[in-house]
């Protein structure tokens, strides 16, 4: 098991390194000249040469990549053309909001996936409704779910807020950066409740499509497992259908669904970018969405590196979890 974890971690490191090379290469082919972007069009030739020297642009290609990597290791992602602040500072202030949204979206996606899979697999009158939900849900773009949610639950019913993370003026800061947790840690459950109300719509809008994909995979492996011999044995020894499904079949079906979860996180991140823009969620997705029209490549590449690393991390964890769920996997 330790060997497996070491192998997976090494592979993850290689992939993140490859991603940095891709980002460096993209920066090089980008038509936006970093010197002009920082100094503006009316800079003097002397200032341009000086800035090129300061950024190291006069040095050989590989040396530039080396110092770029060195910078990354020290948390230097360059300066944002738009906010004129270091990208790492910007990301640091926006990351907690995105982390909280993504974690809740993932939890919602998993819960919904299990409900959808069980609801459409087991024999009961509502199962065809669930199957319909599976097909329709896979086709709804996240932004449509977001705006229809705002129309219904904010505009029409007035149940949920439509923008931002919190309506508390001075929410407690730290230690986790998750308002739902920090509120509890600071003994202010009202903050937690308020943050949760803000989270509900954006997190569900992000979760819907991943939930359906995971649910479909879970459903097909559930159906496959239900025909297995051990299910017949379990039924024959008098277990109820519920005990058979929850106690035996679910664990054996979880592996394919875990792979799908890992894959879906990548798609979920693009949903996060769109949804944060709609809900005015102060996270790195909104930061990226606003950097796109400004052609702010350092900011975009910073967000991409961060989300890419997050994706690789999630998939590494998935690999390890799969080995735990099914001890036959060990390579």
């Amino acid at each position: 098991m330790i060997q497996l974890i070491a192998k997976r971690l090494a592979a993850a490191a290689v992939i993140v390194l490859a991603l940095t090379a891709v980002m460096f290469f993209l920066q090089k082919i980008s038509p936006v000249d970093p010197v002009h972007a920082m100094l503006g069009p009316s800079a003097s030739p002397a200032a341009i040469v000086a800035e090129q020297k300061r950024l190291g642009l006069d040095r050989p290609f590989l040396a530039q990549y080396g110092s770029y990597l060195n910078g990354l290791l020290h948390g230097n992602l360059g300066m944002s053309y738009r906010t004129r602040r270091p990208v790492s500072t910007d990301l640091g202030s926006f990351l907690p909001a995105t982390a909280e949204l993504s974690v809740y979206a993932l939890i919602f996606a998993l819960i919904l996936a299990v409900i959808l899979a069980l609801g459409s697999t087991l024999r009961w009158p509502g199962s065809s409704v669930f199957r319909l939900l599976l097909i329709a849900g896979a086709s709804a773009p996240a932004f449509l779910l977001g705006i229809v949610g705002i129309l219904i639950f904010y505009s029409k019913l007035g149940w949920l807020p439509a923008t931002g993370r919190t309506s508390v003026l001075n929410p407690p800061t730290g230690p986790t950066g998750f308002l739902t947790i920090d509120g509890l840690l600071h003994g202010e459950p009202s903050v937690t409740f308020d943050a949760f109300r803000h989270l509900l719509m954006p997190a569900l809008a992000v979760a819907a499509i991943p939930a359906v994909s995971i649910g479909r995979v879970l459903r097909s492996s559930l159906i496959g497992q239900m025909r297995a011999d051990y299910v017949r044995t379990a039924r024959a020894k008098g277990l109820t259908e519920r005990q058979v499904v929850l106690g035996h079949v679910l664990r054996n079906s979880v592996n394919a669904a875990l792979s799908m979860t890992g894959l879906q996180v990548g798609l979920m991140f693009s949903g996060v970018v769109v949804i944060e823009e709609i809900f005015g969620w102060p996270g790195i997705g909104q930061y990226m969405a606003q950097s796109i029209p400004a052609a702010d490549f350092p900011a975009i590449s910073g967000v991409t590196l961060l989300l890419g690393a997050g994706y690789v991390a999630v998939n590494t964890i998935v690999d390890i979890l799969q080995a735990i769920a099914d001890p036959r996997i060990n390579a």
Partner: protein, 289 residues
């Protein structure tokens, strides 16, 4: 990144039923589903004929609600016909998705074919590169690629195509490896067929059904991904009709004139739904043989 469930050919083919798939009762349903692809393409092709108005020019009072003034889906903030914009947006979304799928099939198929046929070092190197791409969050990397290339519709298509082939390379390579162990390939080799001939005549045709099935299940995902990129401003520039961008640009009207941002979003959903249902149909028809 293609996240459709990959189609894996069953290890033991199900026993052949008496009549061909098309004539069985549930086969007919599948044919109907698969023919949705034709319908969607027809709507896309005929958009200029079907659209009642010019999608770019104001043609009526602004902000008319759906149905009023003869505008089925209403008009937008400057009086353009939303139905016409949705039809043209449908056209560009659909053709863009088809173009990316085709390039994914072509690039991924070629790489999968080369890796699967040659084996050895070439296989290892190509598949490591493929796995590297698969290990990255494709939509996010696509955004970075467009940002580096500098916006525009063609750049967006290139960016998505760059991240969309690895899945197909995996599928095709897997099929080729399975086929390469089959007796008919050995027979061809003994008959003196060259590597190229074996690859093109004896291996490639066998990999086509799995690739086509995966592609048809994948179009819906691609429609959604391209709509999300368009929403973020990575599509054709205004005033071109684009489903995602039309929603994004009109968010300010959401609470008063809901139909202006919602209608293009519903069009994306209908397009993706049709593609998903058709994909299921294609899988059932081709996968059943």
């Amino acid at each position: 990144m293609a996240v459709a469930e990959p189609y894996i050919a069953p290890a033991t083919p199900p026993a052949r039923r008496g009549r061909p798939a098309i004539l069985r009762a549930h086969g007919r349903l599948d044919v109907a589903a698969a023919s949705l692809l034709v319908l969607v393409t027809l709507i896309a092709l005929l958009a200029p004929v079907l659209a009642p108005h010019n999608p770019i020019q104001p043609v009526g009072l602004p902000m008319q609600s759906p149905g009023s003034g003869g505008f089925l889906l209403g008009t937008d903030s400057i009086g353009r016909d939303i139905l016409s914009r949705v039809l043209f947006g449908w056209r560009s979304s659909w053709f863009a998705a088809l173009a990316v799928i085709a390039s994914g099939l072509l690039i991924g198929g070629l790489i999968g074919l080369v890796a699967g046929t040659l084996g050895g070092v070439a296989d290892t190197v190509l598949m490591r590169i493929t796995d590297g791409f698969l290990a990255l969050p494709a939509p996010v990397v696509a955004i970075a690629v467009v940002a580096a290339l500098g916006g525009g519709f063609v750049h967006t298509l290139i960016a998505v195509a760059v991240v969309w082939w690895p899945f197909y390379a995996r599928i095709v390579r897997g099929e080729i490896r399975l086929l390469a162990a089959r007796p008919h390939v050995e027979a061809a080799r003994l008959a003196g067929a060259g590597r190229l001939r074996i690859a093109v005549r004896h291996l490639l045709p066998g990999a086509v059904p799995a690739a086509v099935i995966t592609a048809s299940l994948d179009v819906g995902n691609l429609v959604l991904t391209l709509a999300a990129l368009s929403f973020l401003g990575l599509g054709q520039p205004q005033p071109a009709p684009e489903l995602g961008a039309d929603t994004a640009h009109n968010l300010t009207y959401l609470l008063q004139q809901w139909w202006i941002p919602v209608m293009p979003g519903i069009a994306v959903m209908v397009l993706a739904l049709a593609a998903n249902i058709a994909g299921d149909g294609v899988r059932n028809l081709l996968g059943d043989r």
